[in-house]
């Protein structure tokens, strides 16, 4: 009997630990976004803009962007070192490799990449200025699946 008294306690602790773990796992999975992205990517990058898929540009641009987060396109987007390193590692390992997408662009901007400019050359400046679009960073305005990395041309819908 004396030995058995420890059994319920052990089960209780296991159950509580399991409940805690389960709620943690649920929290981690509830953050939507790009498949395989580290948790820090979803909490940090996507607070201010959609999560840009790593394959949209190459290692050179990602290194430039992640190396200057305190002056990130006009805002301070600095983050702790641990988050920065995990995000950088993921972006770089999934970055575009082919020369067409991988070459560095002015200010490390994806929207100033040759491929981006060429792909969007039929979109007039008037369209870009529409209240429903406003910025080339607002990919989701026309590419409904942009936050999941889907830029399929057949699914483009330009809002009025």
């Amino acid at each position: 009997m004396a030995k058995n008294r420890y059994l319920p306690r052990f089960q209780t602790i296991t159950l509580v630990a399991f409940l805690g773990l389960a709620s943690f796992t649920a929290m981690a999975q509830s953050s939507a976004g790009l498949k395989g992205a580290p948790a820090a990517f979803n909490t940090e990058c996507t607070s201010c803009h959609i999560g840009f898929a790593p394959g949209l540009t190459g290692e050179a641009n990602w290194r430039g962007i992640m190396g200057g987060l305190d002056k990130h396109f006009g805002v301070d987007a600095s983050i702790d070192d641990k988050s920065r390193q995990s995000i950088s590692a993921w972006l770089i390992s999934h970055a575009a490799k082919g020369s067409q997408y991988a070459s560095a662009s002015p200010e490390f901007r994806i929207s100033k990449s040759n491929w981006f400019v060429r792909q969007h050359d039929e979109v007039s400046s008037k369209v870009w200025k529409r209240a429903s679009i406003k910025s080339p960073a607002n990919c989701g305005a026309c590419h409904g699946g942009a936050d999941k990395g889907d830029f399929d041309e057949d699914r483009v819908r330009i809002p009025s």
Binding site: R5, P8, Q11, C48, D76
Partner: protein
Amino acid sequence: MVSFLMARRLGMALVLTFSASLALADSPANLLDTYKTQAKATGGAAGDVARGQSFFNSTHGNEWKCASCHGALPTGKGEHAITHKVIEPLAPAFNAQRFSDLAKADKWFRRNCKDVLARECSAAEKADVLAWLMTLK
């Protein structure tokens, strides 16, 4: 007997787990206390609602106000001034996530104050703004 003991222990364990998470959780009220205490150390009175509202809705030598992205009355959604991404309400009565984590609040104050004031905000300024936000119901 064993099942009674088990139930009692489970109950106690759950109560302990729950109270531990309560003790760890930050709230707008204790963040405000923290900022007020920090401000007191540098000699300033802090937590002034009117001053917080005026601070939030003024420019500070640069292009943006806090309100440029959060809206003049941040009980509703705002919009990022550059990317136009929707920003969820800032007033804690309208968004339970706000000011529920000191480290997170401090991170955003640090970044956003640099964008608006080109420096970090003082503890007194943070207390003023938070005191005002907490009055919005």
